[in-house]
Amino acid sequence: MQINRHNYEEFFLLYVDNELSAAEKKTVDMFVQENPDLQIELALLQDTVVKADDIVLDKKDWLYMEEGVTALQENLLLYADDELTAADQKTVEALLATNKKARAEWVVLQQTKLQPDMTVVFADKQSLYRKEAGRVVVLRWWRVAAAAILVGLGLWTGVTVYKNSNKTTTGSGELANDAGKTKPGQIKTTVPGNTSTVTTQPGENSATENITSTTDQKNNEAKRIENIEPGTEKKNDQNIVSPKENTVVQNNNKTPDNNLPQPSLQNINRNESNETKVVAVLPENNSKRVSGNNAAVVNTNPKESPVNVNTGTTITNVEALQVVNNKTSEEEDNNRYLNVDDDKGKRTALGGFLRKAKRVLERTANVKTGEGVKIAGFEIALK
């Protein structure tokens, strides 16, 4: 490439970097002579070159390899630093055992080994400890408070239930249906020996609530059968039948009625007082008392389908049948605390928790069950 006024900068840079051949340098020199105005520019570029001679490394001796570092010393130093392989260590140890000069050198080198002074300690370690910020302790406080509230509620509920379980209540109750539906799970099963049954009614009309524990041996359990006449209050009698006897315990004041009760359903799911109906149930009728929030007499005889008085429709789910109860004012006063089975409570976790608490407390407090007919582990409340 020929140098000209359009490409001379590249040639000047190569010239300053000493990257041009002798012939090319000569060409650049001739171009500069022909173009004196460009000579200043070349001189400026040459001034930017740093002269290396200005920097001198002082004390080079530390770079020199020291003469006299013999192979013996090298091996002994590595041996002292524990940097030899197992095989090399054995070689050095064998040399030390046989070579007097090596042993003398080893003694001297061992003296250059430092030992830490364990008495030198960092006294102020407390200043080094750290603690992470932002720990949430409020949550723990809330947990404790919530747990205390739940425990308090459970105790209060248990005490209230225990008090009310000592009062006599009517046998029948109303089976509350959420949204008009029955709940098979509310079937009450009374097992001999497990006498804690309480019947409750919806709203403030419930006298007691039958809460029992259900077992898987319902079919083999004793049945408790009671006859309850209309208008009478349910009493917590001792009508508990052993499984083997399978006898029917009746209220002495009442006469069994062959006819199944026709439950009055006009006050289903109503909180105000309801009319109580007495239902006479025989064992062969397979009527059973349904426990739960609102105990009811259920007619399981398929031939006698219960009729919803309110709506006039036949209740197909025979396991849940609402029966109205007449409640006295005294019962209302005593049982208002048990009216936790309102619609609001049923739909909340608190209501479910309270129901469970009641059952547990009744079980443990040995609350006697009400009068009812026991069949296959179910207790049929007889009004």
Partner: protein
């Protein structure tokens, strides 16, 4: 690294780091500052440091801080030449530990650090290289040179043990 692991590192390694720095700086308060700076940095970077590498991390930070401190303050002019100090010793000549400490103080900060890391903490050449930023060969050369210099000082006629 958790908070608990960090505080455990304080219990395990604070004395070792302090001993190493104090032997280098020979100044109590400066050594404490360096140690605190190293642990402070470990706390800040605790999420990035594994618990198993905390000791080497501490020594690395402490060593770098120490070097910066020395260069900043330039408290001592160190020399590799023992000839000017080999004469006129007034202390008892047969105090091996004292003589060794004198010899150690005559090394430059890098050589002294290498000797201390090797003898006090038992680190390998590779580990020392990671702490000091040298490669293994450099560590080996510097350490051997320092060891031989200590040897020469010990066996010098004025300090014959």
């Amino acid at each position: 690294m958790t908070e608990r692991e960090y505080n455990e590192c304080v219990n395990l390694y604070a004395d070792n780091v302090y001993r190493f720095i104090l032997k280098n700086l020979r100044h109590n308060e400066d050594a404490k500052d360096v140690v605190q700076g190293a642990f402070e940095k470990l706390w800040v970077n605790r999420d990035k440091v594994e618990n198993g590498r905390s000791k080497s991390y501490l020594f690395t930070i402490a060593y770098n801080n120490m070097i910066d401190h020395i260069r900043k303050n330039k408290r001592t002019v160190l020399s590799d030449d023992f000839s000017e100090n080999a004469k006129g010793a007034t202390a008892p000549k047969h105090d091996a530990k004292r003589i060794l400490n004198e010899a150690l103080n005559k090394l430059n900060e890098k050589q002294r650090s290498l000797v201390l890391l090797k003898d006090y903490e038992g680190y390998s050449y590779e580990e020392i290289g990671q702490i000091t930023g040298l490669n293994e060969s450099q560590v080996k050369v510097y350490l051997h040179r320092a060891r031989l210099q200590l040897r020469e000082y010990i066996v010098s006629p004025e300090n014959v043990i």
